[in-house]
Structures are given as C-alpha cells and as structure tokens.
C-alpha cells in the first residue's frame, strides 16, 4: 500500500501486515535466506484481507474515506478526464464563488458542461475554496451554466463533494435557501441529459442543488444524506459523539440508497479508496459518464424531462 498516507484507524492492521512483508523482504536480501514463499503467501493473504475489509466498511469508515484530505477533487478530475476544459467564471451578478467551478469541456471527445464543488487539499486551498461549501452565488453561477448548456444542447455533468451549503450571515442575506430551491426547480425544466455523481460528501440541500439529474451515481466510498451524521447526532441524540450511530441510522451509503431508488449506481473505487489511485478512479468516472450520455442522448427533450420528473416523483415511502 502507498505509504504516503497516514493510515485511518481501521487501516492500521493492514499497514502492520505490510510492514511485516517489508521486513521479510529486507531480511531476505540482507541474509540471502530464500523467503519468497512466505512473502508471496503473506502478500496474497494481505490482499484478500484488504478486499474483505474494504468491501465491508461501516458507514463511519466510508465517511472517513470520503473525507480523506488526499481524495481527488473536482479539479483533479477535470485534469484527468477532460480535454480542453474552459472554465466559465462568475454569476454575472457580482460574484465568482470558488466553491463551485464549471465550464465546457470534452470527455472522451463528447462535449459537456462540467460543474462541480471544489475542495482544497491544504488549509490554504481550503480557505480559497471555502472547504467546498458554496455560497448562494455559487448555485447561481451553476444555474447560469445550466442555461448555457440547455441553449447549446450540451449534456450536463455535475461532480458533487460538499459538506453542505455554507451557513453564514451573508449566505442568508443573499438567499441560500432560495438559490438552492431555484436550482431544483430549474433543473427540472432543462432539455438536456443531466448526470450527477456524488464523488465524496453529498451533504444535504447543498449537494442536491446540483443533483436533480436523469442519472445519479455515487462513488463507492462517498455518502449522500439529508444532514451530516454529526449534525444529526447533535440534534437527535444531543451529542455529536453519537455520530457513528447517526451514520448507521441515516443509511448514507450507495448500496443503501440504491435500495430506495435514490441512486442509480455505484462507481467502483480502487482498493483502499479513490486517493490510492486517482487515475483509475477518474477512468471509472469517465466511463460511467460516457455510457450514461450515450444512453440518454438518443432521447428527445420531452422524454428526458418527463423521465427526470418521474424519477423524483416516485421517491418517498408512505402508507395510504
């Protein structure tokens, strides 16, 4: 395993096994004793163990991976999956929110409008991108770009990784709720295919404001929820320490949400999570996008809109 990362708590056992393997290798070269067999069995066991571990992560463990500081960001994906990305700045009303970035690009030769939330990897970057928490102006920029895509018949792809829309004084004054609500309403009216992918954190209305789509996917270790497990715990349990209980109860993983038809599919991540192999993650992402566009682009505008409407129309469970 790539040693550049500090292991997460549940990954420590893997790191220990890998250290053992490393030791054996060193021992073998130093002393000339043939340890090949032991090393290869141990390596095999380690891989099996890892596969088991990552296939059965608890929601809290997934939460940790989805928030990993080295997880690929929107701009990483831009670099890895697009050709000729041309960023389009600003909401035309006085602000260019940096937490949402968008522009036109080609993915495997297919023109798209690509929009996403941007997080930083360092504190400095995170301050620049406001930790991936958009202001109302970010949602308004996205809306402007949605209209552009609609006008020029470009499929829209959104990549979402946000702990939520920013809760601040100015955000309330300029209408955070309204900005999100207007996006929800306007996305319903668009005539082009829309594909939304939760790549990391899909938290609350801040995520949904870019996700009223024909197809909604989640990366394997991302999460999507109405409220952060920490927020939920502090309200319902009156203690933020119950976050892991809340994460369990909220059913936040791709597999859970596929059961309720909220999410159409899960996109595989490399063993250990997206941060271990940006390229492979990006490739899986790109392939999913292209496959979906191919599927959707044969449909006319009316069908796309009606299908989008019906998709969300059916969501919800109640008694009658």
């Amino acid at each position: 395993m790539n040693k550049e990362f500090t292991p997460l708590e549940f990954e420590k056992s893997i790191y220990q096994i890998e250290d053992k393997i490393e030791e054996l290798k060193n021992l073998s070269t130093r002393t000339g004793i043939d340890l090949k067999e032991q090393i290869s069995t141990l390596t095999k066991q380690a891989i099996e163990y890892k596969e088991q571990l990552y296939a059965n992560l608890t929601p809290t463990q997934k939460l940790q991976i989805s928030r990993h500081p080295k997880r690929p960001t929107f701009l990483d994906y831009v670099e890895l999956i697009t050709e000729n990305f041309i960023e389009m700045h600003g909401d035309r009303k006085g602000t260019d929110d940096r937490a949402i970035i968008g522009g036109i690009a080609e993915i495997q030769g297919q023109p798209v409008m690509l929009i996403g939330t941007q997080k930083g990897k360092t504190t400095k970057e995170n301050i620049k991108y406001n930790f991936g928490m958009p202001q109302p102006e970010g949602y308004r920029k996205a809306l402007r770009l949605f209209y552009h895509a609609d006008k020029f018949n470009m499929p829209i792809v959104t990549l979402i990784d946000t702990p939520g829309a920013y809760p601040g004084i100015k955000a309330e004054e300029t209408g955070q709720g309204i900005a999100i609500a207007e996006n929800l309403r306007e996305m319903a009216k668009l005539n082009v295919p829309i594909i939304a992918i939760i790549t990391g954190e899909g938290c609350s209305g801040g995520a949904l404001g870019l996700a009223v789509a024909n197809k909604v996917f989640m990366l394997e270790h991302s999460y999507y929820t109405v409220i952060s497990p920490e927020g939920c715990a502090s309200i319902l349990w009156r203690s933020a320490e119950k976050a892991s209980d809340a994460a369990q109860a909220l059913k936040i993983t791709a597999k859970d949400l596929m059961k309720y038809n909220i999410v159409d599919g899960e996109i595989k991540e490399p063993l250990g999570g997206a941060h271990y192999d940006h390229k492979l993650t990006a490739k899986n992402l790109s392939d999913t996008i292209i496959k979906s566009i191919e599927e959707l682009s044969s449909k006319d505008a009316k069908t796309l809109k009606e299908e989008r409407y019906q998709k969300f129309r059916k969501m919800g469970v109640f008694c009658e």
Binding site: G168, R185, R238, M315, G316
Partner: protein, 298 residues
C-alpha cells in the same frame, strides 16, 4: 357525629374541594388567560382568538396550527381536504433516543394529524384555490415523504383544475428520520412547482413562523409571489449552526421576515389581519390578467 369525626371529615372535605377546585381553576385559567411570550401581558383567550392570535398589546403573532390557519384564511366551510389518509411509514427503521414510530404516534396524539401538512381546496372571497398548510406541532413541521407527496399531489391537482396554489410553510426543515428520502422531497416538490410554472399556474407561498432548512430550500421560496408573515423567522441554516460556524453572535433581528425583506428575499410582509385581503387581491389581479390575455389571443 363525634368531634373527632367532624375534624376527620373536614380534612377529607377540604382535600376534595381543594383538588376539584384547583383542577377547575387550572383548566379554566388555561382556557381563559394566556400570557404573551413577547410583552408578558396577560391576555383573555377569547379576545386573543378574536384577534387572530395576535397580541393586542404588542402585535406579537402567536404561532398557529394548520386547522386554525385554514379557519382564519378561508371562507367559512369552503375547505375540502384531500389525501388526508396518507400517513408516514418508517422505511429506515430509524431509532435515535426514541424510535420513529413512537414519535409519529405521539405527534398524532398531540395534533390529531397524520403528518405535518394539510392539503385541499377552498375559497378566499369566493375565489377557488389549492392550499397546503404545514403544522409545526407535528414533529416540528418537518418534511418527510408524506409532506412531499401531499404537496406534490396538490400541485398536480391544481394544475389539472387550473387553480392558483398557496403553500403555507411552518417547518424546522427536512425530517431526519427519513434521511435521503426526505432530501428527495425537496427535489420532488420543486419539480412539481416547475410544472406549475410551465402551465402558468400562479404559485404563492406564505412563510410563517418558523420556516427553515429543507422547506426554505425547496417549495417554500420558489413562489411566484412570496409573502412572509409579520415577525416570522425564516432561514436556511439554523441560528445556532451559523453562530458555531462563524463564532460570533448574530444580530437579534437576524432571519426575521423584516430582515429578509430588507435583503430583497421576499415580496412582502403581511400582518395576520391583512393576509386574507392581500392573498385575495393577488388572486383577483392574476385571474383578471389571465382572462384579459386569453381575450386578446382570440
């Protein structure tokens, strides 16, 4: 009767009368008097009711439940409820410090409602409209699958009947016990509003104390016309969350209807006594204009 018996009886009598008396008093008191949360003055309940639950001294608007709202706003006996039987399930088997099913039962007992919204058709000054009224008393007016479904069905029915729609909100936000399913109700209701837009159906919202979170960020704030009731607190994020995030105290009028109007987020603020008249006029003007439009097209 011996003297001893007399004393014993007297004690018993006193206890009985005291019990009965205090019970009567308490009940009657509750019925007769209410304290204003704002100016602390004691108000006679009947007067307060007559005054539409607005304090006659300081104009404080008491929060009102859905049934009372409908009574206050619509022409007498004009309301016909639809989809009253839709009630919540527990799709996630959600348990926090209490299980969701229990919370539903308690809320139903407290309010007599199946969930946090009443929908139906009614009239204001003889003009028909579709109406959704949220009730904060039912689990903080939170929006889960039932609220989303009922609001969406109402909008769809109004489009069918070509009637103006009024959504009256009072909600703490999305219902956490249904997690992402609640989140999706924001999309569902907003998509329904999009349909109403495309059919040029007038969609009005009235934001009342309090309106927050998922309702603010969906069908609450995408009205063609947004009215805020005087004194209502309206916002996206809760006050506490913002204070924790920015680590400073917020101004006392932060997120009030008046504050939002100052920043251009609502069309108007209405005193409760003016509401019926205002809404009636909005409907009237739009109806006339639509008629005029149809004529000129011909």
């Amino acid at each position: 009767m011996s003297l001893k018996d007399w004393f014993a009886n007297r004690k018993k009598r006193r206890l009985e009368t005291a019990l009965v008396d205090s019970r009567v008093c308490d009940d009657e008191l509750h019925k007769l008097w209410v304290k204003c949360y704002n100016c602390n003055s004691s108000l006679i309940s009947k007067d307060l009711d007559k005054n539409l639950l607005v304090c006659p001294n300081c104009d404080y608007h008491f929060r009102i439940n859905a049934r009372t709202r409908i009574e206050q706003l619509l022409d007498k006996t004009s309301f016909e409820e639809i989809n009253a039987k839709i009630s919540p399930a527990d799709p996630l088997d959600f348990v926090d410090t209490e299980n969701y099913k229990n919370r539903q039962k308690k809320a139903k007992k407290k309010t007599g409602l199946n969930d946090a919204v009443i929908t139906g058709f009614g009239e204001i000054d003889g003009q028909k409209l579709a109406l959704a009224v949220m009730d904060f008393e039912y689990m903080g007016g939170s929006m889960g699958s039932v609220v989303g479904e009922k609001v969406t069905r109402l909008i769809e029915a109004a489009i069918e009947k070509k009637l103006p729609i009024l959504a009256i909100t009072s909600s703490g936000g999305a219902r956490m016990q249904e997690s992402a399913l609640s989140l999706m109700q924001m999309a569902k209701t907003s998509c329904a509003v999009a349909k109403a837009n495309e059919e040029k159906i007038l969609y009005m919202t009235l934001l009342t104390e309090p309106t927050f979170g998922g309702v603010t960020a969906s069908f609450g704030t995408i009205g063609d016309i947004i009215i805020a009731e005087q004194g209502a607190r309206i916002g996206f994020a809760g006050r506490r969350v913002i204070e924790q995030t920015i680590r400073q105290k917020l101004p006392s009028d932060f997120q009030t209807a008046e504050y939002l109007m100052k920043y251009g987020q609502v069309d108007m603020i209405s005193h409760r006594k003016e509401l019926k008249n205002t809404i009636s006029n909005i409907i009237k003007i739009h109806a006339k204009s639509t008629k005029h439009q149809k004529k000129s097209k011909k």
